[in-house]
Assembly symmetry: C2
Homo-oligomer: 286 residues x 2
């Protein structure tokens, strides 16, 4: 644990919600991540790990203070890791000009366009550097064979893309209001143009609806949750129907739960996150 | 509802978390309050109401975004109202100089010292103006005979003092890490000197440990919750033992739950708020 500095630790539902910082060699900056260690982490059995990826404007704090997930993770005995949403403390011209690009908007991909390509490598950071760091630093409690991932909005995109690009790395995946087809929505077009450039053959590599068409890994069921009253859904930023159609044609099982009257907020997430932990527990503990 | 403006409404656990603003004649300013309407509010039966009073530095937002209470209130069918912690938008010299006096630190009392006495009447605002406003504006869903109150830290003090000063108004009361004996702790001494002046006979009227000694209302059980790892408890800002001793000598039933390893945060509150709703429901629904 030499490479980790403890930022905070709070007891909750019998476990501990912690935040650590570390120097990322991939992102070339200091990063925070959260980790919830359930009460079962005191025992001898290694536990499943679920990653949670947050949405635009978030840091590692929003999920741990607003979603109420700890109750369910404590019940099931699941470790939960929450990375930040972009590199921090690097100054790139324009990185704070808009809320949907740059800081807090890393889109969990590896930028190839200057000046972003030096630091904005959230894909490799998440699926390689942080993934390995967690398994090393928490080797006494984390089961490397039982790892899942979930996320919200931009983080739902991140969870889906991370799973589809790295077959078998994550055994279970779910998403709240994910950006399902970023090539076809304003948020995604802006981010992909900025981080990846104009060549749309590069965009296909980071778009869940495109990736699922050529998925060739272990059997996988995608759980997608969507509030029917979510204004970003109505404005067609999220496009879950496109993903569902692609899944059906590729014969990848998908569940789409449309929730009447719910919006895009953590009020919505907190209502259904217990169901998502049930879903992950059933797969990861089987 | 003419006097209320809707600020926000979000669906959560089948009910709605709303925030309203209104012009307070007691405080002479515009105030926000939150109200959670559980799914049962769509039915024909009038529902119990529980007030939640927040602590220092809070607005009406902290509790509704961080505690996860909506799950339990929805389960029991309880309306939950959360006032703000001080007058807002009034400029009084010194009101923003410290975090434990002035703005966000109204202490749920009626100030008698200038310049505070013009606006800082949170006691009358809560127990009279807002109390009546809720029963009028939500007369179709709120049961005026089944009202309880709870709070955290400064708000725990507010819940206890409001109950003890107004016998019978609140049928159930509980508190997380309340300031139990403000006359004997630095936070309380600063606030009481500022709002009430030097005459300590005035302080006794707003101190739960003093008030319980002369309580002469309907039977009442005080539920006090305290994290044993709470630094403010360790620094003797909260003094629950003084309240418990006064309750015992006055033969007022009191339950003190000391929680090993928990601190003063909403991580702690979220862990035990379900138990508090069980306690209020048992009394208010009997």
């Amino acid at each position: 644990m030499d490479q980790l500095q403890l930022v905070s630790a709070n007891k909750i539902f019998g476990g501990y919600q912690k935040v650590y910082s570390h120097e990322s060699s991939v992102l070339k900056c200091k990063m925070n991540f959260s980790i919830f260690l359930p009460p079962q982490a005191e025992g001898d059995v290694k536990l499943p790990v679920v990653y949670y990826l947050s949405g635009l404007t978030c840091s590692e704090q929003n999920f741990i203070t607003k979603s109420g997930f700890q109750r369910y993770a404590a019940h099931h005995g699941i470790i939960v890791v929450g990375p930040d949403t972009s590199p921090r403390g690097v100054k790139i011209p324009g990185d704070d000009e808009s809320w949907d690009f740059g800081q807090s908007a890393g889109f969990y991909l590896d930028a190839i366009r200057d000046p972003w390509s030096t630091n904005y490598k959230m894909g490799t950071y998440l699926n390689k550097e942080l993934f390995e760091l967690i398994l090393t630093a928490f080797s006494n409690v984390a089961n490397p064979d039982r790892i899942g991932i979930m996320g919200h909005s931009m983080g739902g995109h991140g969870a889906l893309v991370s799973t589809l690009r790295n077959p078998g790395l994550y055994k279970s995946v779910s998403a709240f209001a994910p950006i399902c087809n970023p090539m076809k929505c304003p948020w995604g077009e802006k981010a992909f143009k900025g981080y990846l450039g104009e060549d749309k053959s590069k965009w296909i590599e980071w778009d869940a609806t495109e990736l699922v068409k050529k998925y060739d890994g272990p059997p996988l069921t995608l759980l997608i949750d969507q509030g029917a009253g979510d204004k970003f859904y109505i404005e067609k930023q999220l496009l879950p129907e496109n993903l569902v159609e692609a899944c059906r044609s590729a014969e990848v099982p998908v569940i789409l739960n449309l929730r009447d009257g719910y919006d895009h907020s953590y009020y919505y997430i907190s209502t259904f996150i217990g169901e998502h932990f049930d879903f992950h527990a059933k797969i990861l503990k089987s």
